[in-house]
Symmetry: C2
Subunit: 324 residues, 2 copies
């Protein structure tokens, strides 16, 4: 299924141009797609369509569009966060500079709308609009906390940001688009289920960023700390940290990325481990995942192909626990 | 007509949100549109539709979409060029930083496709796709010359870049979209005419950047030199500069913007004036404009409303000479 989606994207994107500079743009647009992500969201979309009796050829352009969305948004996110690595290689702007990477992201963005428009699946265009509106809002919330140095945030603030930034495009959209590809009206329960599963996914991702293995994870470990990302782990720890710890933390966070000292980051990581905040986040992810899975089982109980429905549940379980 | 288009955009963009961070995103998305550009391209589109008997309400969403394109692309261009000013105020990323400005440009981009999709004008979506593909290609060519320090470029290289980067969205697209709004197949002569008029517009803009008045122009004078932009004036001058002048120029151009000295920029400006290269560029713009106007008169001779056709010719004459 990954091959099918990758081949579709390969066919859609322009390949060669006689002018070498434009050939270079085409190469940049293909870079992230060719690096080969896990394609979880687009595969989920294909499976949901199949479970509800939708033909693969109707779901495929939407899956490719969602994957192209993921790719252009990652190019831009990596600039916004000044991330170092993506899928085990340097981020695009670290290879080619911000101007060319930014423009290549825009170019890929336009090809995404081309694919969605040409799919002709009723309601799909509106679903992409809604999904990307929410994602951009969540990204703005997340970035503005970093820009403004906001740390006085509740778990509810974090969850609202994560719902917008991650959950819509990771779970809600693949489910809704899959049902649209099957010619059905998306189930109203999808939204609540998807927000919970998406939150579980992101909380697990945050934890993995702190304690994961770099080779498996594909991004630098503790990169979120270097980038000053607000995570559930940090917010929980801050609420119970000593004034001295908090002052130390805020001082480190106020420094630009390249002035943050490895020893200081290690100190903070140690406190996060000792405080039980990582465990708290994992418990919260478990609870969100359990409730999300309960709700999505209702949705999937109405699918015509129950064998595929079971595979979807299995994928969602893995996704919500970040085992994939 | 400007008010109509501005009101349409005002209605389309989200205005208020209970979450202050998202409210802030909405404010950023509205910033460039509210600064009020000249809206030349969107007004041209409305006039072409009227000249060919198209109803204003069919042309209006396309005009708004083209204006929204101009606005998101300017946000991103200003980041890519690290421009200081836009429409007499600081560029968006200079007010809010690159991350928030980049994301606000993406958010506006998505609303543009929403407007184009909802217009329902057959062929308009494909016209936007084609236009933005070409613009992104032209932008990549232009940026990659700066990144790679390429100065060994011909006038033909410059014209090809300008056709892609400027002429499609400035002249070709407004004409073609205007005819589509009138329910007509766009005239095949539009492309050749629009490329010539667009080139004339950009060459004049380059000249204005060197010799214009900052208050009228809305951008910093000689900003192109600070940004290292390739222009017809510079390429013509380089082809006849002495080895000493060329070495001096390349040394200044190799410096980052904030290390370029005002006195050095003044020296280069003086050489450009003395060499006749500014005059050469103006002659070339005149020739491109004359040929473009000749071709577009053919197209407009088939319009049902010849009074509006005359107004369009007048606007295009002003546009090609940058009197507007």
């Amino acid at each position: 299924m990954r091959n099918l989606i990758a081949e579709f994207i390969d066919q859609v994107l322009p390949r060669t141009h006689t002018r070498p500079e434009i050939q270079h743009l085409f190469d940049l647009m293909r870079d992230y797609p060719v690096r080969g992500g896990k394609m979880l969201r687009s595969q989920l979309l294909m499976m949901v369509a199949r479970a509800f009796g939708g033909p693969a050829e109707r779901a495929l352009p939407l899956a490719a569009g969602l994957e192209m969305f993921q790719n252009w948004v990652l190019i831009h996110d990596d600039i916004e966060d000044d991330s170092e690595d993506r899928r085990g290689q340097p981020a695009l702007h670290r290879l080619h500079g911000i101007p060319l990477a930014l423009n290549a992201g825009d170019a890929l963005h336009v090809y995404m709308w081309q694919v969605v428009h040409q799919s002709g699946v009723p309601g799909a265009f509106e679903e992409f609009l809604n999904t990307i509106h929410r994602t951009a809002e969540g990204q703005h919330v997340d970035l503005s906390w970093v820009v403004n140095g906001s740390w006085d945030l509740s778990e509810a603030d974090y969850l609202q940001m994560v719902h917008l930034k991650t959950a819509y495009y990771t779970v809600v959209a693949p489910f809704r688009l899959g049902m649209l590809a099957a010619g059905l009206t998306p189930d109203p329960e999808i939204e609540a289920a998807g927000l919970k599963l998406g939150a579980a996914f992101q909380i697990r991702d945050d934890v993995l960023n702190l304690i994961g293995d770099a080779a498996d994870y594909g991004k630098e470990i503790a990169g979120d700390l270097l980038e000053g990302k607000r995570t559930l782990v940090l917010l929980h720890w801050l609420a119970q940290a000593s004034p001295e710890q908090k002052a130390f933390f805020l001082k480190v966070m106020s420094l630009p990325r390249d002035q943050k000292q490895a020893a200081d980051i290690q100190q903070i990581l140690q406190w996060l481990h000792d405080s039980g905040s990582i465990q708290h986040a994992q418990h919260m992810a478990d609870a969100e995942a359990a409730e999300g899975l309960r709700l999505i089982r209702n949705v999937l109980s109405r699918a015509s192909d129950q064998k595929t429905a079971d595979q979807i549940l299995h994928l969602l379980e893995q996704l919500a626990t970040r085992m994939v």
